[in-house]
Symmetry: C2
Subunit: 275 residues, 2 copies
């Protein structure tokens, strides 16, 4: 027993988040939760999902290795293994994501809430860190997140920032954007620098046109949010980036999460921070 220091508050917070993560995955599994996961299970890592046949997976692993800011790997499964032991309790990647996108020959063909019927023994799952994971430390530091205040999905945009290509995969970076007052933007840079597995520090601030974004009110993914005159748009690399790389690579089949609708893990972000 630690005399004078009550750890139950921390324990209870973590337990509550774990309970919510597991409930959310169960609701996703049964098709009852199909929304953005932003703001859920605070303190626990959320992940982008890419599922590819083994014959494409090896080269996608190389793509991730060469683009660690956009594609920070939290887990890579063995072929055909749908249970992701290292990320939490009873995570079945075939059903526990709120919504999936199926790409056939690089084209988005459908969205679905369960991919059990598409599963094959050669399917390899990649889980990539997500910027939602640093939203909790930003809020704990007193920063407001417009997407959460608006109950909206975060705004995401295609950019002109070229990724390092692998043999099959290439394309430009997708970024998420959150507007902040200047002092809060500085604080957000400090805080997110601690979380390289959640894309780390921003890749850009202030001049969206420099990265090929010409109208912030027209995001390519997610929802638009208001940006005030005294705010600066802050851009982080986004795990939707692989979806563009898949469109360029044209594998016969690829499965991803739908933007903003992530796999919620049991991993505490604090265990992933670097300082």
């Amino acid at each position: 027993m630690n005399a004078g220091y009550d750890t139950s508050i921390i324990t209870n917070h973590h337990e509550a988040a774990l309970t919510q993560a597991r409930e959310l995955r169960q609701l996703a599994r049964s098709g009852q939760f199909t929304s953005s996961t932003s703001g859920f299970a605070p303190g626990l890592a959320q992940g982008n999902v890419v599922i590819l046949p083994k014959s494409w997976a090896d080269d996608f692993l190389m793509f991730c290795q060469q683009n660690p800011v956009a594609c920070p790997l939290l887990a890579v499964s063995a072929p055909g293994k749908p249970i992701l032991d290292t990320l939490g309790d009873d995570i079945d990647i075939r059903s526990d994501v709120p919504e999936y996108r199926i790409f056939r020959h690089g084209e988005l063909s459908e969205e679905t809430n369960d991919i059990s019927d598409l599963w094959r023994t050669d399917m390899v799952t990649f889980v990539l860190g997500c910027s939602f994971s640093f939203e909790d430390p930003l809020m704990r530091a007193g920063l407001s997140l417009r997407n959460i205040d608006c109950n909206a999905n975060v705004s995401m945009y295609r950019t002109n920032i070229e990724m390092n290509p692998s043999q099959y995969f290439s394309g430009n970076m997708v970024v998420s954007m959150r507007p902040f007052k200047p002092a809060d933007a500085i604080r957000a840079i400090q805080i997110t620098s601690r979380y390289p597995k959640s894309h780390g520090a921003p890749v850009h601030i202030g001049h969206p046109e420099m990265i090929g974004i010409h109208d912030l009110s027209q995001p390519d993914f997610g929802d638009a949010v208001p940006i005030h005159d005294d705010e600066i748009p802050v851009f982080w690399a986004c795990g939707v980036t692989p979806q563009l790389a898949i469109a360029n690579a044209c594998p016969p089949i690829a499965i991803t999460h739908s933007p903003g609708k992530m796999i919620v893990t049991d991993i505490s972000n604090d265990t992933l921070s670097i300082f």
Copy 2:
């Protein structure tokens, strides 16, 4: 002996900087160096200087304690003691600053290169950390500093940011400004966060009018530098702030360094970084 690791490069770099610091102080002492100290003795801390009679010094110490971002204390001397042992070898604060400003009853009355004739047994010296100290780590990270590229003094501005007042001292913050491309601005925020004794992270980015600066081409202290369209102005708290507080407090006498012309110490910045 460390087999396989040659520390002489590090040692030689540090020794060269120490030699330059000591030569610069000797040249300042003899009146031969009267310029901005930016870029000199890379890796060693530089300091803002405030010298006050003991009857004012106690309240100024309180002012510094309440405003640690603008006024990070590196040293406070005993009354009447001009040699600053803790900051380096043979530092005489009466002569080793390239240029001094004498304030009488809050008004700037003269600039001089030696204050020996003004020294009194009740004079207390404050040395405050300076943003020049983080210019070396910024350059080592590959960032260009416009003031150094232009061989100019850094641009400094009065702001509308109010300091926390002490009994006698009050006023608004002075900031230094350096323009960077967005990605470099992000990196500069990360790097300078490590150096709280050199004002730490910026206090503002991007919207100078929000902090009361209406024309970047007209700095209140130092020199104007060009800012390009694809750059963001980044603002750090500045150790010239006390000079405004002195103007408000109106002590019969106060002595400071001239903006940009600092006391160069023997202290390695790396010993002052927090991570």
